[in-house]
Amino acid sequence: MPRRLSALIPALALVAAGCATSPSNIDDIAELPAVTTGEVAALVAESGRPVVLNVWASWCIPCRSEAPLLDRAAAEFAGTVEFVGLNVRDSQTGARGFIAEFLPDAEFTHLFDGAGNIPVDLGGSRAVPLTFFYAAGGELMELHTGVLDERTLALQIDELLARG
């Protein structure tokens, strides 16, 4: 095969891959409610279901990578597990743009923490992405720092459900 043709194949594959997404309109996404640590803690404690609290930002590349996974998990466990996204150290425009592109139809409760202090107050850190796994009632079962993979997310949800 001629060398130029060989080089063309991956380029064509990338172009084809580029046609795979169709982001929603940012205007369709509502402003995220700004919350305090107490409000997030109350939401987790009073949910009545296990809660997966994912801390993210639109400028965080690993957050983009794990968003589709969280989207799938939220759809699969809708009604069983509550998924909460906490946007930190970001702008409303950036956050809404991210949701429009990666989580337009997700079964998520989206919250906004401009200062980014809530994850630290809850026992985590300022790193993103960061994911808290809470049992029903609000007890913190696992804190995962860094991007989630499918196995880890499925295992931690299974742990939450197994512990009731």
Binding site: A13, G18, T21, R64, S65, F102, E150, R163
Partner: protein
């Protein structure tokens, strides 16, 4: 950037290198003039790259708009496409000596996969479905015992790798048989352990079944071809 997979990668690469070295010492690759280590590394890189792009496309993430995401390997690599790309790369680079190269990489690829699975110990990612068996492992702070499913796969693949290397030394199989056997064993080991893995999507079972079929057909084809050549030769 995520570095938590590096432990598993290191163990996997050590497995590939160790098996290539061991087979070379035993004279298993005497009929192959290619540098198997170089080909193996190129195949691994190509496999991860293509597999990552395939996973991004499947998740609806545009790799052209988000090229940096390709480096976030932990967010997912499509196993089937990665395997196809790795095999195609090895076949392309070794096209002058196709079967000696693919057979020469067979045991090393199983050792590398065994290392990849055993590398779960470096990142606390060995656990699968709940069980009451005596060797069940638990997450820190959890009362739920679980199958160490990745260690099961690692043990099966390591044993298969050693058996394949020993087979190639004691009674060299027909050209292509070792490569097809490795594909069959790798697919079977994943297929058998998949029900024990926690997953959202059910796992790429279709790809594993395809690997079993292709591996089986490959063994039959290479054996029949070898017999026909032997009969024609006298």
């Amino acid at each position: 950037m995520e570095f938590t997979l590096l432990g598993s990668v290191a163990v996997a690469v050590a497995g590939v290198y160790g098996m290539i070295w061991w087979e070379a010492r035993r004279g298993n690759a005497a009929n192959c003039t290619k540098n198997l280590w170089d080909i193996a590394m190129a195949a691994i890189v190509a496999g991860v790259f293509v597999g990552r792009i395939a996973a991004m496309v499947a998740d609806g993430v545009n790799p052209l708009v988000n090229p940096g995401d390709i480096l976030i390997v932990r967010a997912g690599v499509a196993t089937g496409w990665a395997t196809v790309a790795a095999i195609a790369t090895a076949a392309w680079l070794g096209r002058d000596e196709l079967w000696p190269v693919l057979d020469g990489l067979a045991a090393a690829s199983l050792a590398g996969l065994a290392g990849w699975h055993a590398g779960c110990l470096t990142r606390d990612a060995c656990l699968g479905a709940p069980t009451d068996l005596p060797w069940a492992m638990t997450q820190p702070g959890s009362p739920v015992g679980r199958h160490p499913v990745e260690l099961y796969a690692a043990l099966v693949l390591a044993a298969a790798s050693i058996a394949l290397a020993w087979w190639r030394r004691s009674k060299p199989p027909a050209p292509g048989t070792a490569a097809a056997t490795a594909l069959l064993v790798a697919s079977l080991s994943r297929l058998a352990t998949e029900p024990l893995r926690p997953t959202l999507s059910g796992g790429p079972v279709g790809w594993y079944l395809a690997g079993v079929v292709v591996g089986t057909l490959g063994i039959m084809w290479s054996t029949r071809r070898h017999r026909a050549a032997a009969a024609a030769g006298g």
